[in-house]
Amino acid sequence: MKKIVAIIKPFKLDELKGALHDLGVNGMTVTEVKGFGRQKGHKEIYRGAEYVVDFIPKVKIEIVCAADMVDKITTTIMQSVKTGKIGDGKIFVSPIESICRIRTGETDQDAI
């Protein structure tokens, strides 16, 4: 069992959700986040004065899946959110020790 965390551009979320759904992924958690990476911040102008927005809004998605699904899912994420411009985001994969579905008490593979 693996957890895939991806930080993506917010306007790509709908497209990604559709693509993952087609792949058979039946759940994910989405969080609005802010941060900086190589893109750093960007400049805005307010009433004649420039200022730097240090933390850029992004969306973080979390998916837990069976180990054999990881490649398919990461490929799909790369394909659907890539713009080729700086700030496209990153994908992190990590192992999951156990899962429990609260409603039924099912565990691990059955609870994905």
Binding site: E44, Y46, R47, G48, Y51
Partner: protein, 437 residues
């Protein structure tokens, strides 16, 4: 015979309607027409007063939109209270100083507490008071924006009462006293300020300048090397709504200043609109050239700059001149906002530039573009008025704010400012359920 009686009876009906049982005469008709005109004057003046009152909402929206979410409750309270306390102060003292009989031409000495009105007397003084009261409220509320996010609430309350009771009315009496019982020295010179570019806006704007100087800038507005930092407003659509409301309110402010329902309001309406439009366009173009993007804050200020600019001359300049006046105001306001920022005077909404600077420009323009021609004497008088407004309003407000600062303190503590005046002054949050910065 029967027919004749019937005709006479029919003819008598309209006569009976007048209650005298007499046939209408040229004289009684003239009286009736005058009465209708009189009623129309009341109606127009009071409708206009309602429009000007609505400008309070406009100011509240502009001010809170251009500042941070953590100050929005305080701004609503200030705008609510400067009009509420101001109304009472203007009723008790201000109106008498402004429009009471004056032997000196410097301030009135009668008509305090609306004593000019008696239950069986002429109610015109009430309609006139209402219209003037909303003007006093406008002058008071201008200052709020320049002092936003760092002023102690109690100090602001003291200031509002003083502005509506003394600072605004005394200058007003110089320029407008004779509209009722007074006679101001400035109006005797022939000073042109139809609806108050100087009387209302410059006075408010210069008082705002004094307030912003005595207070000092918000924490974080200037960097360690003195560089100007932006503190973005938290709700630009709200600020824009405020500007639209103010624009609407100005259709009462300027045309209503006739206090007469006659044909002259048409040109004043058109002039008001054209100047605002030209101000918005030119402020947008100026910001586009200067900052590479059409800046929304500056464009909104530009519409207000045009409106302030045309306020003095709206009744005595042509529509074409109005466009020129508004356009120049639109350029002026952008340059002024940038300059005032660089002078390390923190005016979060641009009140000093919009009302002080463009009010002065509008007063000069009212002489310059006068449809009856302009003379050296007219221009000199306009300049005297502009100068007198600056000396009086800035001087009196500066002393007032300094005194408040010494006696009760004008500014909140550093810690309170960081936390936000909403929480520390009112114990309240404008946007519960949201994280506020």
């Amino acid at each position: 015979m029967k027919k004749i009686i019937l005709t006479t009876a029919l003819l008598a009906i309209p006569a009976l309607a007048w209650g005298e049982g007499e046939a209408p005469t040229a004289l009684s008709n003239a009286d009736a027409i005058a009465l209708v005109q009189d009623h129309a004057n009341y109606l127009w003046t009071l409708v206009a007063a309602a429009l000007v009152f609505f400008m309070q909402a406009g100011f509240a929206m502009v001010e809170s939109g251009f500042t941070r979410a953590k100050s929005a409750v305080n701004i609503m309270m200030k705008n609510m209270m400067d009009f509420s306390m101001g109304s009472i102060a203007f009723w008790a003292i201000g109106f008498g100083l402004m429009f009471g009989a004056s032997s000196t031409g410097w301030f009135g000495t009668t008509d305090f507490f609306l004593s000019g009105w008696t239950p069986d007397g002429d109610p015109w003084v009430l309609a006139f008071w209402m219209f003037q009261c909303v003007f006093a409220g406008t002058a008071a509320t201008i200052v709020s924006g320049a002092m936003a996010e760092r002023t102690k609430f109690t100090s602001y309350l003291i200031y509002s009462a003083f502005l509506c009771a003394i600072i605004y009315p005394i200058f007003g009496s110089w320029a407008w006293g004779s509209l009722l019982n007074g006679n101001g020295w400035l109006e005797k010179l022939g000073f042109i300020d139809f609806a108050g570019s100087t009387v209302v806006h410059s006075v408010g704007g210069w008082a705002a300048l004094a307030g912003a100087i005595v207070l000092g800038p918000r924490i974080g507005k200037y960097g360690p090397a003195g560089e100007v930092r932006a503190i973005p407003g938290h709700n630009i659509p709200m600020a824009a709504l405020g500007v639209f409301i103010l624009w609407l309110g100005w259709f009462g402010f300027n045309p209503g200043s006739t206090t007469t329902a006659d044909k002259s309001i048409a040109m004043i309406f058109v002039n008001t609109n054209l100047a605002a439009a030209a101000g918005a366009v030119l402020a947008m173009v100026t910001s586009w050239v200067m900052f590479k993007k059409p800046d929304v804050g500056m464009t909104l200020n530009g519409a207000l700059a045009g409106l302030v600019g045309i306020t003095a001359g709206c009744a005595n300049v042509s529509p074409t001149s109005s466009i020129i006046i508004g356009a120049i105001a639109g350029v002026l306001v952008v340059l002024s906002v940038v300059t005032i920022d660089k002078m390390h005077i923190d005016d979060p909404v641009g009140a000093v530039s919009v009302h002080g600077v463009c009010g002065a420009w509008g007063t000069l323009a009212a002489g310059l573009f006068n449809m009856g021609g302009t003379t050296m004497k007219i221009m000199t008088t306009q300049l005297i008025g502009i100068g007198a407004a600056f000396v009086w309003a800035f001087g009196a407000a500066f002393i007032l704010f300094k005194t408040i600062d010494i006696v009760v303190g004008l500014r909140v503590s550093e810690e309170e400012e960081m936390q936000g005046v909403d929480i520390c002054e009112h114990g309240a949050n404008a946007y519960n359920d949201f994280q506020v910065h």
